[in-house]
Amino acid sequence: MIYSSELIKGTLKTIILKLLKDNKRMYGYEITQTVKELTAGKIQLTEGALYPSLHALEADGLLTTETEYIGKRVRKYYSLSQQGKIESKQKVNEFSDFLNTMVYLLDIKTNFA
C-alpha cells in the first residue's frame, strides 16, 4: 500500500528534517531513495512536493546548502542549520504526540502496545 499524498503532505517537512538529522548532508534524489528504502516503498516522495519543501525550509533558515559540481551538473547538498536541529526535534516530538492523539481519537488497536 502506498500512502496518499494528503497524508504525506503534512509530514513532509518532519521527514526531511529527521532524515537530515540522521544523515548530516543529503541531496534531493538521495532523500527520495532513502525514504523509499526505509519504508519499503510505502512512502514515495514526489519531486513536485520535495523540492518546494526543501526551498521553503531553506528560506526559513532551517537548512544550509553546499553545491558540488559533477561534470556539467550541479548537486545541491542540504544539511540542518543550528535552528534546523532544534526544529527537527520539535517536529518529531509534535508528530509523536499527534500520533498518540490519533491512536486515541480513531480508537486504533495498536499491535505495539
Binding site: 513536485g48 512536493a49 523540492y51 526559513d60 550541479v74 545541491k76
Partner: protein
C-alpha cells in the same frame, strides 16, 4: 548503468527551461535529480530520449512549471506570516505610541512630538502599506484590488498630511485636499457601485458612504479656506506695517528732541547696540518670510504678504540659531545693565525662552521686535524729556 554525456545534460536542461522555469536553484536540483534516475535505472544500451520522456511525466501533472509555482507559493506563504506579524506589531506600536504622544502633548511633557512623529511615520510607511499589500493578496478579483488601492492611497496620504502639518513640512495642505478628492471622487463611487449590487451588503454600503461624506464634510468645515488664509495674511502684514510706521514716527520724534537729524540713539550706546541687533534680525526675518529688505508702503501696494512660516524653519541652520542666541544675550545684557524703567519687556516673546523660540511664527516675532524697538526709543525719549 547509463553514462550521461554533456549533450544529454544539455538536452534535459533545455527541456526544463523550455517549460518556463526561472528559479535557477530549482532548475539545477531537478536536473541533478533526473540525471540520477537515468544513471541508475537506464541500462547502458538504453534509449536516452525515450526513457527521459517516460520518466519526466512522473514529475508533474501538466508541466515542470507546477513545481516552481508550488515553491513560490510556499515561499510567499512564509512571507505572508512574517508580514502579518510585522503588520500587527507595527499597528499596535503606532496606536500606543500615538496615544502616549497625545497625552504627553496635552500635559506638555517632553518627548511628545517624537512619539507622534514616530507613530505617524510607522503608520504611514509600515502598517498601512503592509495592511493593503496583504489584503490585495487575499482578494482574487481585479475590482476588489482596485478598490483597495483606491482606499490605501487616501489613507496613507491622510496620515502623512497630518504628520507634515504638525512638522510644518511643505505640501501638508495639498496632501490633505488630495485625500478628500480621492476619497470622494474615486474611492466612494467605486465602493458604492460595488457594494450596492448585493442585497447583503446594501445597507452597510449606504451607511459607510454616508459616514465618508459626513467625515469629509466635517474635515472641510474645520479647514481654514484659502480665502480666509489670505485675509489673515493681509491683516497680519498690515498689522506689522502699522507697527513699523509707529516705530518710524518714534524715531523722528526722538531725533527732533535730540536736535540731531541723523542718529536718534547716538547718545546712548547701550540701547543703540540692542536696537541695531534687533533691526538686523528683523530684516533677516523679513527677507526670509517675504523676500524683501524693507517693509514699506510699496510692499503693501504690490499686494505682497508675509508668509506665515515658523521661526524654527528660519533657525534650521547653525548660523541662524547662533544669531538668535546672540540677539537674546544682547537683550538680556541690556536689561541687566539698565535701571528698572529703562528695561524692555520681553515676557512671552520669542526671546523669552531659548527653547520656545523655535515654535513661534515669524510674523509674530517681527511684531515683537518692532515693539521692543519702540520701547527702546520711548525710554530714550523719556530720558530726554526728564533732562
Amino acid at each position: 548503468m547509463f553514462i550521461l554525456k554533456d549533450e544529454h545534460i544539455d538536452f534535459i536542461l533545455q527541456d526544463i527551461k523550455n517549460n518556463g522555469l526561472e528559479n535557477q536553484d530549482l532548475i539545477l536540483n531537478l536536473l541533478d535529480h533526473i540525471c540520477c534516475i537515468i544513471e541508475e535505472k537506464l541500462e547502458e544500451e538504453g534509449n536516452f530520449e525515450e526513457y527521459y520522456n517516460s520518466i519526466k511525466s512522473t514529475f508533474y501533472h501538466k508541466s515542470y512549471l507546477e513545481i516552481e509555482e508550488e515553491t513560490n507559493l510556499l515561499l510567499t506563504f512564509k512571507n505572508y506570516y512574517a508580514m502579518k506579524k510585522v503588520m500587527l506589531f507595527s499597528g499596535i506600536f503606532s496606536a500606543s505610541i500615538l496615544s502616549l504622544g497625545i497625552i504627553f502633548k496635552f500635559m506638555h511633557w517632553p518627548g511628545a512630538s517624537i512619539g507622534i512623529v514616530l507613530s505617524l511615520g510607522v503608520l504611514s510607511f509600515v502598517f498601512l502599506p503592509l495592511l493593503f499589500t496583504l489584503r490585495v493578496k487575499e482578494k482574487s478579483n481585479t475590482r476588489d484590488k482596485i478598490l483597495l488601492v483606491a482606499g490605501a492611497i487616501p489613507a496613507i496620504l491622510m496620515s502623512l498630511s497630518v504628520l507634515f502639518k504638525i512638522q510644518h513640512w511643505p505640501f501638508a495642505n495639498t496632501m490633505g485636499y488630495l485625500t478628500i478628492l480621492i476619497l470622494l471622487f474615486i474611492y466612494l463611487p467605486l465602493f458604492y457601485t460595488s457594494g450596492i449590487k448585493h442585497q447583503e451588503t446594501k445597507i452597510n454600503t449606504i451607511i459607510t458612504s454616508i459616514i465618508i461624506i459626513v467625515g469629509c464634510g466635517l474635515f472641510l468645515t474645520l479647514v481654514v479656506t484659502p480665502k480666509t488664509q489670505k485675509a489673515q495674511l493681509v491683516k497680519a502684514t498690515a498689522n506689522i506695517y502699522r507697527s513699523q510706521q509707529i516705530l518710524e514716527k518714534e524715531k523722528i520724534l526722538l531725533s527732533k528732541i535730540n536736535n540731531s537729524s541723523e542718529e536718534s540713539l547716538s547718545n546712548n550706546s547701550k540701547s543703540k547696540i540692542v536696537f541695531e541687533e534687533l533691526e538686523l534680525f528683523k530684516n533677516k526675518l523679513l527677507k526670509f518670510s517675504a523676500g524683501i529688505d524693507k517693509l514699506d508702503s510699496a510692499f503693501i501696494a504690490n499686494k505682497n504678504y508675509l508668509e506665515d512660516v515658523m521661526l524654527g524653519d528660519y533657525l534650521d541652520g547653525q548660523k541662524e540659531e547662533e544669531q538668535l542666541i546672540k540677539l537674546r544675550q544682547a537683550v538680556l545684557l541690556y536689561n541687566k545693565s539698565t535701571l528698572g524703567n529703562e528695561k524692555i519687556n520681553i515676557e512671552s516673546t520669542f526671546l523669552d525662552n531659548e527653547s520656545t523660540g523655535f515654535i513661534q511664527r515669524v510674523p509674530t516675532a517681527i511684531t515683537e521686535i518692532i515693539q521692543l524697538q519702540i520701547q527702546l526709543l520711548q525710554h530714550q525719549r523719556e530720558l530726554m524729556a526728564v533732562k
